[in-house]
């Protein structure tokens, strides 16, 4: 892991004063995860370049238990020893502490002056690619060279990976350059190697002072820097709002509204879906209802507000059930309420007698998560074994996908969807299941019913 900073300020070797590191020496510093070395590959009147070399101990890293994305060996086979990440941020604070604070005894004026600086990082992990690099560093006035790194020259069709080589040039105070790197490198990486708490907000405020509040990507920076933890992100954004001069957000208004609209549209389809299911269940006159594939409990929470005698959610994921329990606040319920609701760990593809004896069941956006060959088992379980009088099934209408501009043509809405059906396919399935198990079927649209492609969500109501 290497960072070099070059200046063309005259005399260039003043860089040594600013950094408190003598250009003639090679220095070694201990850091918690290995060692940092500082030396000057170039040191002349015209040009001075300092190098910070980090040696990260990969075996030591393992103890830190980074639970990376589903790849069991990610703790051992990873890019951390080679790239600029939060390790570098920690090293910067520890090795260039006073330079980052902008203090320089005997050279106060120099520390406070914008000078020509160039920072070079051979490998930066950038989730969001070169484009995000520009969005982050561009507004800070840098001239940016960013080159994506190819995955493997032997397999050119593999293309580029998530790493880029980055060079930043600008006229600014050294302290500002270091602070920008300190904050933005982990943001680009979208990760941190350490556990964070409230103190992290303070670090962000200190190092973001003077530039973060007005940065156009402020929200993204704060969110990623604080590891998307809502309990930290919201207070941090509020503090930054206070730091803004009045009226500064006016120009952003239109943008924000557009974003919100998009968001609202999403929320509203989901809301409409759950609302429609809620109405159908109510209209069926059911007293005991089942939410099969309840997930984190969005529908359950609504059903609890209706006056059912019993509401039971079932899901195959233990984690989802824990979320549902939290969402429905099971712990805080008094006994009478608590007895109305139950959560079952139950996979749809195994028969479960606990699902018998209900008046109605909802399968909201569930069937498309089953492999087609296993669908038969789920059908038997729901329509053959549990046999509630009413069954509500919703699933995406794949025809509608063309109406979503952001969705690449031909792709499904969710990576785990095993299939998405056209209206005709859904009807064929529903009619067959209905006939086989003695249910009548009717259909309801959910969301805007497009004249050409139908509604985004299709719903079948089975009753017997």
């Amino acid at each position: 892991m290497l960072l070099t900073i070059t200046t063309t300020h005259r005399p260039a070797t003043d860089l040594g004063f600013l950094l408190h590191k003598h250009p003639g020496r090679v220095q070694r510093f201990d850091v918690p995860f290995g060692a940092a070395h500082v030396f000057y590959p170039v040191a002349s009147e015209e040009c001075c370049r300092v190098a910070l070399l980090l040696e990260i101990d990969p075996v030591g890293l393992v103890r830190r238990g980074r639970g990376a994305s589903g790849f069991a060996l990610a703790e051992y086979v990873n890019d951390r020893p080679y790239v600029a990440s939060s390790f570098l941020s920690v090293a910067l604070v520890s090795v260039f502490k006073s330079a980052m604070a902008g203090t320089c005894k005997g050279h106060e004026e120099l520390a406070g002056t914008a000078i020509g600086l160039e920072a070079s990082l051979p490998v930066v992990p950038a989730r969001g690619g070169a484009e995000l690099v520009r969005r982050l560093f561009g507004p800070l006035g840098y001239e940016i060279d960013v080159t994506p790194i190819a995955l493997d020259g032997q397999f050119p069709d593999w293309g580029d990976g998530r790493h880029v080589a980055l060079t930043l040039r600008g006229e600014l105070r050294l302290a500002d350059l270091l602070r920008h790197l300190y904050v933005l490198l982990p943001v680009l990486d979208d990760d941190k190697h350490y556990w964070i708490d409230e103190d992290e907000i303070g670090k962000l405020m200190r190092r973001g002072e003077g530039w973060l509040a007005e940065h156009p990507e402020r929200d993204l920076i704060v969110r990623r820097y604080l590891k998307k933890q809502a309990r930290l992100v919201h207070p941090a954004l509020a503090q930054l709002d206070e730091a803004l001069p009045a009226g500064a957000d006016a120009e952003d208004g239109a943008d924000a509204a557009a974003r919100e609209e998009q968001l609202e549209e999403r929320v509203s389809l989901r809301d409409q879906r759950l609302g429609t299911v809620q109405s159908v269940l109510k209209a069926s006159g059911a007293r005991r209802v089942l939410d099969l594939g309840c997930g984190a409990g969005a529908l359950l929470a609504r059903l609890l507000r209706d006056d059912y005698e019993r509401v039971v959610g079932a899901d195959v994921s233990v984690r989802a059930l824990e979320q549902a329990a939290r969402r429905c606040k099971l712990d805080a319920m008094h006994d009478a309420q608590r007895e109305r609701i139950a959560l079952l760990h139950s996979p749809l593809t195994y028969r479960d007698k606990r699902l018998c004896g209900f008046d109605a069941a909802a399968l909201v956006e569930v069937i498309e998560h089953l492999d087609p060959p296993r669908l038969a088992a789920a059908e038997q379980n729901v329509f053959g074994s549990a046999r509630p009088r009413t069954v509500v099934v919703t699933t995406p209408n794949v025809e509608y996908n063309v109406r979503w501009e952001t969705l690449p043509a031909g792709s499904l809405r969710h990576p785990d969807h095993r299939f998405e059906w056209t209206r005709a396919q859904f009807a064929t399935w529903a009619e067959r299941v209905g006939a086989q198990h003695g249910y009548a079927v009717r259909y309801l649209p959910v969301g805007p019913d497009d004249p050409d492609v139908g509604p985004p969500t299709q719903m079948a109501v089975f009753s017997r």
Binding site: G24, H37, Y40, A72, Y82, V316, S317, Y350, Q380, G384
Partner: protein, 850 residues
């Protein structure tokens, strides 16, 4: 007085305070058999005399009593029980568990009670209490039997109480001590000629009188009942079975027809239908003693029989697990009629619930009652009524051999109301509409499970592991009908102390040597992904043997049960290639099968893991190369300025070398795949076929068969290079080590060392079925690019193999058990239980680098 108890049962002691109940209980029963209300009061309130705790104390008492009877265990309730309400709830509990409640009354004189209470400091209540209890008791005495106690014994004096003797005998249904061997014979219905023919076929000798039967040595007949009605000669059948029962060579159970005949013979008014008319006409031609004998005989028949250490249960119409070995009205009804819904079908016959479909008991249940075209095992139950009187066959099941022996009916004696030989009934039991056989129940897999395996006795699957597996199994795995096996995890060899090496064959050899395994096979570890191939000769075989309803002819899945290839068409293309090779090698006939399960490696690894290689491995390689190159350039510039960075630069150059070798290591796993034709299959175990599970064959047998598949299709199959090693011979080992060094020197994955005999046992049970010994270069993609660098490798040597090794053995036992159950045609849920167990164990947290 002698008190004869049927064990288990619920014994209710009745008597006022001071009547001597606790003393009596102590004398005749185990301390753990007795639950006293005082004790329960103490449990809930820390004070045995705290009357305010009475209600809670009785709740505890009832709970314990219920749980003991569920076991079932003889249970004695030591409380005054002088009030009818208190007894009612106890009788209720016994009934719920289908066991008898009996009462022992200690009617001790009031004076004695009072005197005893006075002597005890903790019984400071007035004499009115005892007086009132005695009067309640006296009022109850007469009606006790009517309340629902099966027997009531009243001990009227301290002398009576002292003289009482308690004896226990098993319930009549409990014949576990009888071990047979047995021949369980289906519904006879007066088919005397067929019965004689069947008995002869079973090796029984029939005497000249036509009733005296001599069984083959040690064997006994068990009749599921329905001796008469509809058939030609009920009297002869009755004579024969009565003689056999009297001689002790038959155990006779009652059928619903027998019970009806009994009611008629006892003079009750019954409808003369369903063939009873023929029976009565036939009996009328016989001396009247026969009817009397038949009446007494039938009256003495016990609902069902639990035999052979509880491994075999015989009942006329079936017996669910909860009722086995118990005795109550509903148990008897169940034995006679099975489980019915109370409705009747289009033929006017009662609609039966398919109890056998849901049966999960450990005991095999043999029954009759409803004629079937061909007896078939379903969930460890079998119906042996093959409709003799309707022109079918008379069938016997030989136990414990589990062989069926049958003779055909000479003719159709009676037309069945419903054609039982109709084509749809003749199909194997595929379940019914609301519970097809393929639909597994969540109870089959969820919760903590203890699986009995042949190889390792019991394997316990922890509840949280089962929960984790449930999600994987239901969301990602192949159809459970194809999942007849999952491979075990494999532990690496003990850690080597050699410089720059973590693993070396010597440790593996030493381990097997210490376990008493002299010969091992070393098999090249292929650079692909594990694949289990289930292949059928054709779609018909797939349908018949695996019960699938699609046109699939097999399956190829990963070690976690996921379909290996994304598209079903690719899977079929690969299967047809396997099938052709099996054809070519002539294995169908040789193994007498139309399906095979092969344990294989499918190459290249990139076929399954290209995304992982790209996103993880290549990405790390690219970052490392770019980063280190820039670092070295900077250091060189510093050196050119005269800085002392020589050591740093040398270290960084060394790292570049490691990284380059790491990049080489993952690159070996990549080759372009555009279709199934680009894949290579390397089978190494021929796990199972219809003729058996081949874990009793040496690895050389497996590998030679696999070689023949390669010979049949050398372009698509790859053979597994191997060496047989004598681990007691130094030369043999040295040669194998040299071979391993050659395999791994240019980046090969390494080898797997296995006991030559497939399954081997050491002093601590099963030895590891295989130990992997991975190559130095290959381990870079496991331990990290620079793991072999001096500062790192020594710290990596501290690795703990225990859990992985233990998992490997248990998963191996489960996998083999799954196959053996499948080959024995055990029901799907029994096979699935084992496969599911393997998957559950895989959610146990272990170091993924092992």
């Amino acid at each position: 007085m002698r008190i004869d108890l049927a064990d288990p049962c619920l014994v209710v002691l009745i008597g006022p305070s001071g009547s001597g109940k606790s003393t009596f209980a102590r004398r005749h029963f185990l301390p753990t058999e007795v639950i006293s209300s005082d004790f329960c009061r103490g449990l809930v309130a820390d004070d045995e005399n705290d009357q305010r705790a009475t209600e809670d104390a009785f709740a505890v008492l009832h709970f314990i009593a219920g749980r003991r009877l569920a076991q079932p265990r003889l249970t004695v309730v030591d409380a005054t029980n002088v009030q009818r309400e208190s007894r009612r709830s106890l009788i209720e509990i016994a009934k719920r568990h289908d066991l008898f409640a009996v009462a022992i009354v200690l009617d001790t004189p009031e004076a004695t009670c009072l005197e005893r209470n006075r002597a005890r400091a903790d019984r400071a209540f007035g004499p009115h209490v005892v007086r009132q209890q005695r009067s309640q008791l006296r009022r109850s005495l007469k009606g006790l039997q009517r309340e629902g106690f099966r027997r009531v014994w009243v001990l009227r004096s301290p002398e009576d109480i002292d003289a009482a003797e308690v004896r226990r005998a098993p319930l009549w249904t409990d014949r576990r001590a009888e071990h047979g061997p047995f021949d369980v014979i289906g519904d006879v219905h007066g088919c005397y000629a067929e019965l004689v023919a069947l008995l002869r076929a079973l090796g029984y000798d029939i005497g000249a009188d036509g009733a005296t039967v001599t069984p083959p040595a040690g064997r006994r007949a068990v009749f599921v009942g329905d001796y008469g009605d509809r058939g030609p000669d009920t009297p002869a059948v009755l004579r024969l079975v009565m003689a056999m029962a009297a001689a002790g060579s038959a155990i006779c159970l009652p059928g619903n027809h027998d019970v009806k005949l009994l009611r008629k013979l006892k003079g009750r008014d019954v409808q003369i239908t369903h063939g009873l008319g023929q029976t009565l006409e036939q009996l009328a031609t016989q001396p009247p003693q026969l009817s009397e004998q038949a009446r007494d005989f039938l009256d003495g028949l016990v609902s069902h029989a639990v035999l052979d250490d509880g491994k075999l249960v015989v009942a006329h119409a079936g017996m669910k697990e909860a009722y086995q070995g118990r005795s109550s009205g509903r148990v008897r009804e169940y034995a006679l009629f099975g489980e019915t819904t109370g409705e009747t079908d289009a033929f006017g016959l009662p609609v039966r619930l398919q109890w056998a479909r849901d049966y999960r008991g450990a005991a095999a249940v043999v029954y009759g009652h409803t004629p079937v075209a061909a007896p078939e095992w379903l969930n460890n139950t079998i119906n042996v009524d093959s409709g003799c009187v309707f022109g079918g066959r008379l069938t016997a099941l030989r136990w414990p051999e589990r062989e069926l022996v049958s003779v055909p009916a000479a003719r159709t004696y009676y037309e069945p109301a419903k054609p039982f030989l109709a084509a749809d009934d003749a199909a194997p039991p595929a379940g019914d509409e609301d519970r097809p056989a393929f639909l597994l129940d969540v109870d089959d897999v969820a919760g903590k499970r203890i699986v009995q395996t042949r190889l390792a006795r019991t394997v316990t699957v922890r509840e949280e592991n089962a929960a984790a597996a449930l999600e994987v199994m239901s969301r990602f795995a192949s159809d459970p009908r194809w999942l007849v096996y999952l491979p075990p995890t494999m532990a690496p060899t003990a850690t080597s102390q050699r410089a720059e090496l973590l693993e070396h064959p010597d440790e593996a050899f030493a381990e097997y040597r210490a376990d008493g395994v002299p010969h091992v096979v070393c098999e090249e570890k292929h650079m692909g992904s594990r694949a289990i191939v289930v292949v059928c000769r054709d779609a018909v075989a797939a349908r018949e043997r695996f019960g699938v309803d699609s046109a699939e002819t097999g399956a190829i899945y990963t070690r976690t049960g996921r379909p290996f290839l994304e598209s079903p068409a690719d899977t079929e293309a690969a299967l047809s290639r396997v099938r052709a090779a099996v054809d070519g090698a002539g294995l169908w006939d040789e193994l007498d099968t139309d399906w095979l399960v092969l344990d294989c490696e499918l190459m290249p690894w990139s076929a399954k893991a290209l995304e992982l290689i790209r996103r993880q491995y290549a990405s790390v390689g690219a970052a490392a190369r770019a980063g280190l190159a820039a670092t070295v350039a900077a250091l060189d510039a510093g050196a050119a300025r005269g800085l002392d960075v020589a050591a740093l630069a040398a270290a960084q150059r060394g790292r570049i070398e490691h990284v380059e070798r790491y990049v080489d290591a993952y690159r070996r796993y990549v080759w372009p795949v555009t279709g199934v034709g680009d894949l290579r299959l390397a089978p190494f175990h021929v796990l199972a076929a219809q003729s058996g599970v081949f874990v009793d064959r040496e690895h050389t047998w497996h590998l030679e068969l696999c070689d023949r598949l390669t010979a049949a299709d050398p372009d698509w199959f790859t053979s597994t290079a191997r060496r047989i090693v004598d681990v007691t011979d130094a030369g043999s080992q040295v040669a194998a080590v040299a071979w391993w060094e050659e395999l791994t020197g240019d980046g090969g994955e390494g080898m797997v060392v296995k006991p030559l005999g497939f399954v081997a046992r050491g002093r601590k049970g099963l030895v590891q079925p295989g130990i992997k010994c991975r190559g130095r270069e290959y381990l870079r993609i496991i331990y990290g690019p620079e793991y072999a660098a001096p500062g790192q490798i020594d710290r990596l040597r501290r690795r703990s193999l225990g859990r992985k090794r233990s998992l490997a053995v248990r998963e191996f036992a489960l996998g083999v058990e799954a196959l053996e159950r499948f080959v024995r045609r055990e029901p799907l849920h029994r096979v699935h239980e084992c496969v599911f167990g393997v998957l559950a164990m895989e959610s146990e947290p272990v170091d993924p680098r092992l």
